[in-house]
């Protein structure tokens, strides 16, 4: 759970940057932008549940 998330995000980052370079050089600017957007959504899809769970735990722990 823990360290694999870090490596997944790094892998998505590298993949998106490579894809964007290729798409940029082949002249498709907007698809490059869409690819980076897709990468962003994927990373958010992974990270947001953790953020929610963390703040839920903090709320229960400190009775906020």
């Amino acid at each position: 759970m823990t360290i694999s998330l870090i490596f997944k995000i790094a892998a998505v980052g590298i993949l998106v940057s490579v894809l964007c370079q290729i798409l940029k050089h082949s002249g498709r600017e907007e698809q490059a932008f869409l690819t980076s957007l897709a990468g962003l959504l994927l990373v958010l899809y992974w990270v947001v549940p953790y953020i929610y769970e963390l703040f839920e735990t903090i709320q229960n722990l400190f009775a906020l």
Binding site: T2, I3, L5, I6, F7, I9, A10, V12, G13, I14, V16, S17, C20, S36, G39, L40, V43, W46, V47, Y50, I51, E53, L54, F55, T57, I58, Q59, L61, F62, A63, L64
Partner: protein, 131 residues
């Protein structure tokens, strides 16, 4: 022990983030955000053990429950604010971090006001009797 995993997690995230920052800067920020959240999981679990012991100590002491829960709230607010402000500063937006910190300080101040009022009331009662 968790100390190892937290240390390795931090170093791995920082190394990958510096690599990604040069290629695509926003992924460095996502990586640091994810690492911060994961390390915060370990910190919160450590907080859990500490607070359990604190609760047992306060049960024996003649301390009013309200003050202990206010203290707990303050600790929770301080920790969350410090975590979020730190992440915002890392992303390079120190203005937002400053806003969050100011809000946190004022929230803690507003939480502590009833306690101060209670103290002033007791002092006032003593002064009335004295004169």
């Amino acid at each position: 022990m968790e100390v190892m995993t937290v240390g390795i997690l931090g170093i791995a995230a920082v190394l990958l983030a510096t690599q990604l920052k040069s290629v695509r800067s926003e992924y460095g920020t996502y990586l640091i955000l994810a690492a911060g959240i994961l390390i915060a999981f370990y910190t919160v679990s450590r907080w859990g053990t500490v607070l359990q012991m604190l609760k047992q100590c306060t049960e024996w002491l003649p301390v009013d429950r309200v003050y202990v829960s206010t203290l707990l709230k303050m600790i929770g607010i301080a920790y969350t604010i410090q975590l979020c402000a730190g992440l915002c500063k890392d992303a390079g937006y120190s203005a937002i971090a400053g806003q969050i910190e100011t809000f946190g300080k004022l929230t803690i101040l507003s939480l502590s006001l009833p306690v101060v009022l209670a103290l002033l009331d007791t002092v006032h009662v003593f002064l009335q009797e004295g004169l």
